[in-house]
């Protein structure tokens, strides 16, 4: 028996076999199933002491808002965060996977991860899927070589920039950056500018909305400011509440307590011999 399992990548994930079938079905008139897109405004900028990332919090499914407060700034490493636009599942899966790879790399090398490492892992993965993994990312972080900010497009190309925007609201946000960005911003100025750019996306783009998330990364420290701004609070809630006319009468109430504890089989772990 020569079954020798090496740590080869598990065969799975994307198989392109069904793409041709799907194309054929679309031609015959079948509407493709809708998936959760993030619409989105995501931004990043480099300031005096590091990098600031920002994102809105609306996730759309066609014309419907599927999640009013989703998290688009994903953790990659203690010193690296990544904003994701495009298909929510794709950005989640790709950032999770690369975050995992970076963690193993940190164990093996005993060093902090570098932004370019995350960048290269992400772009090689996206390129090998030829744009089918619909993830547009803004990657930012501070490592031993300094602060870095990159954008990654679904087909695998990247840019290295002092300020960047992605997503459907990128034009609105870029307008703000282009007019107000300058080198050597302080932390407060940077956060204010990022919040302004995201707000511009929230109010001027239908695919973006709800709240502003901000993440400030400096050397040796990071602050994840979840819901830094809430410009879209529900302003009016009726105090009277709602009353619904009674439809069915309650005849009898009986409460059956379920068993509280799950029984655990102790001592099942040790090996006999």
């Amino acid at each position: 028996m020569t079954r020798f399992e090496e740590s080869a990548p598990v065969k799975g994930g994307f198989s392109f076999d069904l793409c041709k079938r799907n194309e054929m079905l679309v031609q015959k008139g079948l509407k493709p199933s809708s998936y959760l897109k993030t619409g989105t405004t995501i931004v990043g900028l480099v300031f005096r002491d590091g990098v600031i990332l920002g994102a809105d919090t609306r996730a759309t499914e066609g014309p419907i808002v599927a999640d009013k407060n989703c998290e688009k700034i994903h953790y990659m490493a203690p010193n690296i965060y990544c904003c994701g636009a495009g298909t929510a599942a794709d950005t989640e899966a790709v950032t999770d996977m690369v975050s995992s790879q970076l963690k193993l790399h940190r164990f093996h090398t005993g060093r902090d991860s570098r932004v370019v490492t995350a960048l290269t892992l992400l772009k090689s993965h996206l390129f090998s899927y030829q744009g089918h993994v619909s993830a547009a990312l803004v990657l930012g972080g501070v490592d031993v070589t300094g602060p870095h900010l990159h954008t990654i497009y679904p087909h695998g190309s990247t840019d290295t920039l002092p300020f960047a925007t992605m997503g459907s609201g990128s034009l609105a946000a870029m307008a703000i950056f282009e007019s107000k960005y300058r080198e050597g911003l302080t932390r407060d100025e940077g956060v204010k500018l990022v919040a302004e750019a995201i707000s511009s996306g929230i109010f001027n783009d239908l695919g973006s909305g709800s709240n502003v998330d901000v993440c400030v990364i400096t050397k040796g420290n990071r602050e994840y400011l979840r819901n830094y701004m809430l410009p879209n609070l529900r302003t009016y809630v009726s105090e009277k509440g709602y009353s619904f006319s009674k439809k069915t009468e309650v005849l009898m109430t009986k409460i059956t307590p379920l068993r509280e504890l799950v029984e655990v089989n102790e001592g099942g772990d040790a090996m006999e011999e």
Binding site: M1, T2, R3, F4, E5, S7, D96, M97, S100, K103, L104, F107, H108, D269, A270, M271, E273
Partner: protein, 235 residues
Amino acid sequence: MGDSQYSFSLTTFSPSGKLVQIEHALTAVGSGQTSLGIKASNGVVIATEKKLPSILVDEASVQKIQTLTPNIGVVYSGMGPDSRVLVRKSRKQAEQYYRLYKEQIPVTQLVRETATVMQEFTQSGGVRPFGVSLLVAGYDDKGPQLYQVDPSGSYFSWKASAMGKNVSNAKAFLEKRYTEDTELDDAVHTAILTLKEGFEGQISGKNIEIGMIGSDRIFRVLSPSEVEDYLQEVE
């Protein structure tokens, strides 16, 4: 061995019912440098001798105690390169577990996975068993735990254990000195004294390595200067 007709696989049963290669692997472990582990009431400590083949070797570049996850560490006795392969596989398995269940891998699960890998190498063609025994120290929701994994793939949970050259003396010493409610710092002292028992030459922060995990659930390898502090407390 006399069974040359079984020479296509190194792990065929001998007529007496033993797997001779595994016995030999255990001998390889037994001639490795002493390592030991002690489970305290609020943590676990593992330690090992770090005897380098020559004074010219840069001892700062050698690290025998490794971290598998932030809350699990491992030390070995036997062949260093074999242990590196296992450490690499274990780290990857811990990470895959996290990816799948979004939960840090419990110590028992990681030990089981590592033991499975070691067992696979005793039942495949063209490979040999690992020449290491591992002592895995971890702290999770079940509290502090210490496991030993052998080349055969069997694993045991220990309150205190030793492996390598000086195993019988070390175990006898540990049996005498171990108490159920020992604290982590006392356990470190006991570990140092146990290592000192069979140590040839002058013990110092540079030729032993100590790793510990407390209730903060972060596994750390002590720096040589920290080891020196503990050594001085023991003197």
